[in-house]
Symmetry: C2
Subunit: 222 residues, 2 copies
Amino acid sequence: MKRNAKVSTAVIRRLPRYYRQLSELQQAGVVRISSSALGKSMGLTASQIRQDLFCFGEFGQQGYGYKVENLKEEIGEILGIGRGHTLIVLGTGNLGRAIIRNFKFSSNGFRLLAAFDVDRAVVGSRVAGVPVYHIDGLEEFLSAHPVSVGLLAVPIAAAQEMGERLVKAGVRGIWNFTNCEISFRRPDVVVESVHFSDSLLALSYMISQQERQDAAGEKEEL
Amino acid sequence: MKRNAKVSTAVIRRLPRYYRQLSELQQAGVVRISSSALGKSMGLTASQIRQDLFCFGEFGQQGYGYKVENLKEEIGEILGIGRGHTLIVLGTGNLGRAIIRNFKFSSNGFRLLAAFDVDRAVVGSRVAGVPVYHIDGLEEFLSAHPVSVGLLAVPIAAAQEMGERLVKAGVRGIWNFTNCEISFRRPDVVVESVHFSDSLLALSYMISQQERQDAAGEKEEL
DNA sequence: TAGATTGTTAATCGATTAACAATC
DNA sequence: TAGATTGTTAATCGATTAACAATC
């Protein structure tokens, strides 16, 4: 990993996809791959892949291509897998619990330390082995355990406030699953939002376009 | 809605955000807004907003700005809200159930008709009022009910196959929550994926960058 | 060696921003 | 009317694609 000046978000968004694709290739026993083959398998151009990698250094061999395992490891390091990142979940409702149970934090380089909730009925229990604490103990926990990312799965009304408590206590990364925009006037705090609603509405637009085209086509046929 | 030639994905991705922001403004009782005020509230330039809207027609008044309610409705129509879209969920594990219980399908213009699973223990029951059928009955159900979108919350191994069954039975939109890429050689089928893993890894990259900068800064200070 | 494929610079394309006449 | 703000075209900026020398 070398250059690194200003990597565009477009590139950053592709890095996890490279990582995922290379993992699959590795599992499938593929040892080497060229930028053009990788591009074809992902719907990208060879140029773009080489240009993307160029942001970070040299990972291939001329005339040969890339060693799948090696490139995967390199991109993993760029992404920060293996940096010992830690995470806590705020909110153990349906969504919070589903994520805790389903998501493979460890294969993304994260260790899930704990969950927090206001509901005394769940506080003290465990979800998939993860202890659930009362939200009142958040600051105390954070002062004792360094936490890289706080996952917000709380009601919308509580999102901004909970985010602020996390940031105030030193958490730099917020993974926001609430369907609202949250922000902090802090250049050192990163917010990544997963907006289901935006995703479905984009899909809704695209299928609506299809439908409109279909309708126009039928009209023409008459 | 007028022009519409080729709307870039960048614009499409912003439309739901506009819709969300305008809904919030409306709820807050704001009646009119200018492109510059809307831009400021969303971290976009006024130019960009006007340029985006220009793809679809004229929605404002010179010297006045946009009527919040009106613009919201127009963007809603562009997005296809109110087109009577329908949806089914495949897979009622933790994630599937959490989405069924949590997500406000109706406020995004979708009607959730049913869920499907292989597990006989859940088949026949209801999740948040939604009936769960056995996957064997999928094709029969689809032939009786027009479905716009199929939500995939099945194990990775089943994702592609389930997608193909949906497409074969006439479903045009796939909302993919499995952590794998699926694709169909069908220009009329739209796949929208929600990759938690890609999202977390992008966040991981960004906080790792912060950490690297911090480390470099500390080094300099010595 | 010859062929293949990279790293890297240059060219192109597309998206964002700026500018401003039209007009409410 | 004067001021504000749009719709829309032109300018700029950034990202993608093309090209090719270097070299395995």
